[in-house]
Amino acid sequence: MPSTSSLAVMDYGMGNLRSVANAVRKVAPDVEVLVSSKPEDILAADRVIFPGVGAIRDCMAEILAAGFDQVVAEVSQSKPMLAICVGMQALLSHSAENNGVDCLGLFEGDVKLFPGGEDAQGAALKVPHMGWNTVEQTVAHPLWEGIENHARFYFVHSYYVMPDNKALLAGTSDYGVPFAAALAKDNVFATQFHPEKSHTSGLQLLHNFVQWSGEC
């Protein structure tokens, strides 16, 4: 990888982007990391992280206001992209959160509220799903390189994705219902968990992302 490689973190005014940038700088000190709200910066970078926290209605409103819907459409055709948490959910067709919000539709499927209830031992499955859960790697993928299957990653979310097209799945997890922990299609990889908050395994995934050509 050339030392001039650049990575842009899409900034659309929603929450903590410092953690993502810090984690990438930690694993890839040679990569130029830019947190930017300017579409031209995102389009000029070699690779792109599409983060997201908070509620989907506000996120989608900010994404559209920043013109990032078109940026995501273009990046998804041209360079490695990693979408995280609500960033991943925003790539689906529609979310049930906030009484229903249309999303970017890069991946077909709906984002739904966890049903809650109890686990097999009778313990409450509280919502949000918050903490460290295991991820089963359902496909071999360059971003799983060096990460043990069933490693634990940090999740915090109340809504989940399970696409109809199972070919999109890269990893699954379980919280009363099986759900997508990661989705992958061509040069796009998306995680429901937060790699930047998932210690060794998360940092390894980010390391893999900055090395990734975008091919599977």
């Binding site: 903590n16 926290v53 509620a55 509280k126 634990r152």
Partner: protein
Amino acid sequence: MSLAKRIIPCLDVDKGRVVKGVRFVDIRDAGDPVEVARRYNEQGADEITFLDITASHEERDTTYRTVEKMSEQVFIPLTVGGGVRKLEDIRNLLNAGADKVSINTTAIHNPEFVREASERFGSQCTVVAIDAKRVDTDDGSLRWEIFTHGGRRPTGIDAVEWAVRMANYGAGELLLTSMDKDGTKDGFNLPLTRAVSDAVNIPVIASGGVGNLEHLAQGVLEGHADAVLAASIFHFGEYTVQQAKDHMASRGIVVR
């Protein structure tokens, strides 16, 4: 496999130094917060909680700088609380690198603040801290009230009812401290923890009173806590986080 129960070392920070109050009064110095947090990160802590107990608001910049430095070195979730009064305070802490922000006294004075915070920043980063203390009842039944000012001032608010209300207002997590137990090292207040945890459908962190590793296990097994928080047993080298995890695993608790 399932979601792991979390072990959360807590850093009480005063003017940029980790301290540990016993019953929120006596203070012992336990080091530089960034160094302490990094040590727990390496030991396998599941999260870090940082409570700014500095009394004066002028010291806020020290807190932001400490959080910034911590987020450059610690790649696990970081909750920051203490002195959060305005939405602007939450925004500043998130921008400094906090993942969750804990609201305490402001929620009592203005419960709507919790709703505003969760609507603006999301439930996932809105933690409500509850400091509860046992109060006498006519029939001898168990009842706990919310106390402020380090456990000195009663509010008359029932702790379990308050927990339910805060969850309804959009809190994503509760940090529940027993003011009777804090600093005593004789274990969590298990009836309180269980009453609150069973009453709400959001995660509850048990806090206050941990003196040994079995106390942590009891918090989960008997208190039904989703996460257990401790300070002094880790700060002064009595136990490592890994030892805590090993013990909890030996009691059949799923840990990372």
